[in-house]
């Protein structure tokens, strides 16, 4: 397949199909509507399942059901819609069921607006559902990268029996780029889903149960410890990030998604002005690429965290940095996108932006 021009949301949908999705359950919300629209057409036509649920709450619980039944299943939504899914997500993570959740972020809080934003970083990485659970969260910067991750995400979810969230800002959902669907996906050994609740006829002598209730606190603590061990394995194996212009950076930018792309251009502009700026671009937000920060040269003057929010990933930057360098913040929000020149300014006035 040659390169094609495709809208981000549609590319997400097609990539899901290539990733082997069996069922989609979701509810309309801007700016992710092209995901269900595309899938409604192509899944039903191929004997797969598409269902527009009555709400986000229903959708995530349909996902629970189908995931428990052993199928590859996904949902997609945007900010307030993801908020409504938090209870269900916590259940799915607790029951260790694999699924893929696409979150296309818009401006908040509340109903907010429909323009691109990254103000749901907390929502993705710090839950909002109850208890100690984690999603595996990827935040691609381009439609191509979104496709590659989407295709792989079902394998990753199955491998860890954990929900994977693909987190993009609305711009990635709404823009069109030239992309290629044929990049191969890393092969993983995926064991049989012998835990699937698909009737004992498929596994005689054994009842399969999808469950998150552990009324005995000892058992529940044990389960929590097991989950943490799993998350630690994820931390060891699934960290992804890109280092850009890291030869001898004077400053280091940390940014993901669309913001990272804007910063790439800013770095080029700064280069022209003789200011060498590197970038850590986290691709996985959980696990967060803490180790990348160790690679920042001691003499670097500071780290500028750039987000389309009022400062959420900033927490992880501060934790990863752990006091080593000065950390500054630049953010736009509510759907406002900075141009590269604004980032250039921010670097030049780094000292005004230091938070710690």
């Amino acid at each position: 397949m040659a390169k094609v021009l495709m809208k981000g949301n549609e590319a997400i949908a097609l990539a899901a199909i290539k990733g082997g999705v069996d069922a989609f359950y979701g509810y309309p919300i801007t700016p992710q509507n092209e995901v269900p629209e595309y899938l409604s057409k192509h899944l039903l036509a191929n004997g797969k399942v598409f269902l527009q649920a009555e709400s986000e709450v229903a959708a995530i619980n349909m996902v629970y059901g189908a995931a428990g039944a052993g199928k590859r299943v996904m949902t997609s939504s945007s900010s307030p819609g993801i908020a409504l899914k938090q209870e269900g997500i916590s259940y799915i993570a607790a029951a260790e069921l694999p699924c893929v959740i696409v979150s296309v972020m818009r401006g908040g809080p509340g109903l907010g607006g429909i323009q691109p934003s990254q103000a749901d970083y907390y929502q993705a990485t710090r839950g909002g559902g109850n208890g100690d659970y984690q999603l595996i969260v990827y935040a691609p910067e381009s439609i191509q990268e979104t496709i590659d991750i989407m295709k792989e995400s079902f394998d990753i979810a199955d491998y860890y029996r954990n929900p994977v969230m693909v987190l993009v800002d609305g711009l990635i959902g709404q823009m069109m780029e030239s992309v290629d669907f044929d990049k191969p996906v890393k092969e993983r050994f995926l064991p049989e889903k012998d835990w699937a609740t698909n009737g004992t006829m498929n596994h005689p002598g054994k009842r399969n149960i999808a469950n998150s209730l552990q009324i005995d606190p000892k058992a529940l603590e044990q389960h929590n410890i097991h989950l943490q061990e799993k998350y630690n394995t994820v931390k060891k194996n699934e960290v992804r990030y890109e280092l850009i212009n890291f030869d001898d950076p004077e400053y280091v930018i940390v940014a993901y998604g669309t913001m990272a792309r804007i910063c790439r251009s800013a770095i080029e502009l700064l280069e022209k002005e003789g200011i060498s700026v590197g970038m850590i671009r986290p691709i996985s937000l959980f696990p967060y690429p803490k180790e990348a920060f160790a690679k920042i040269p001691d003499k670097a003057k500071g780290i500028l965290t750039c987000e389309l929010s009022q400062g959420q990933m900033l927490d992880d930057v501060l934790i990863a940095n752990n006091g080593k360098h000065k950390v500054g913040f630049f953010g736009r929000s509510g759907g406002m996108l900075p141009d590269p020149e604004e980032i250039v300014e921010a670097i030049k006035n780094f000292n005004e932006r230091v938070v710690k």
Binding site: N61, G65, A66, G68, G199, R207, A210
Partner: protein, 251 residues
């Protein structure tokens, strides 16, 4: 000697977690027996809801999922759509189905999802200790209607079967009670028929079961069954509310 009645293989051997005399147990048996008699136990998937029956995944002798409070019908939909040849049923209390889960239940019914819903109406939130349910009767004292439910403060008891009979996708809908042997026999017939319809892919089936909660009603188990007769049935009349297959079912 032939065995006339024994513990059904449709239930596991685990002792039920219900209080003494709670009729959740009777309904469990009827479900288990129906699954066995229709020979669908090995393709059945039970959805346990949140309520006293939250542990029912330990009791139904088949695969099971435990759903978030109120979302059993969504979960059942999710499963049934990907496994259309399995038998999927939910087991839900009145808090679960009629209060927090009414949207999921109505929409599953309206889509005509080919699932079976066992709806336990005991006019109370049992598991959380006796709060008012949407089905609590006018005058009924609960921990959140301590002077008795009244319309102005708490609203009316909700009539689920009356409402659901207006929904196109419903294939079979009956309200039964398990307060005496005669009614238990009727309840069994209804539950079995619902599963039979599902097997025949006729659409959404639901059996509303008037059931007791002796503990939170503050009654002895036997008195609780009498209260079903004297107070619940007059407010929630028994009977078939909808039967799409009535014509070819007349045997």
């Amino acid at each position: 000697m032939t065995v006339k009645y024994e513990k059904t293989k449709g239930l596991t051997d685990k002792p039920l977690s219900y209080c003494p005399g709670c009729t959740h147990g009777i309904v469990h048996k009827l479900v288990g027996e129906s699954l066995v008699e229709l020979d669908i136990l090995d393709r059945a998937i039970a959805i346990a809801s949140v309520g006293c029956s939250v542990f029912s995944y330990q009791f139904f002798n088949c695969d099971a999922q435990q759903a978030p409070h109120g979302r059993a019908c969504a979960e059942a939909t999710g499963i049934k759509r990907v496994l259309p040849d399995n038998i999927v049923f939910t087991y839900q209390g009145d808090g679960d189905l009629a209060s927090i889960g009414i949207a999921e239940t109505i929409h599953a019914a309206n889509r005509g999802e080919n699932i079976t819903v066992i709806f336990i109406n005991n006019a109370i939130y049992g598991m959380t200790g006796g709060q008012m349910a949407p089905t609590s009767l006018i005058g009924q004292k609960t921990t959140t209607s301590q002077d008795g439910r009244n319309q102005a403060d708490h609203g009316n008891p909700i009539k689920i079967s009356e409402m659901f009979k207006t929904i196109e996708g419903v294939a079979y809908l009956e309200r039964v009670a398990v307060n005496n042997p005669k009614n238990v026999i009727r309840a069994k017939k209804a539950i079995k028929k619902a599963f039979k319809y599902q097997k025949e892919k006729r659409g959404f089936t639901m059996i509303e079961v008037l059931s007791s909660c002796p503990v939170n009603w503050g009654m002895k188990p036997v008195d609780a069954l009498k209260w079903i007769e004297s107070d619940m049935i007059p407010n929630y009349p028994l009977g078939v509310f909808k039967d799409k297959g009535a014509d070819d079912e007349k045997n």
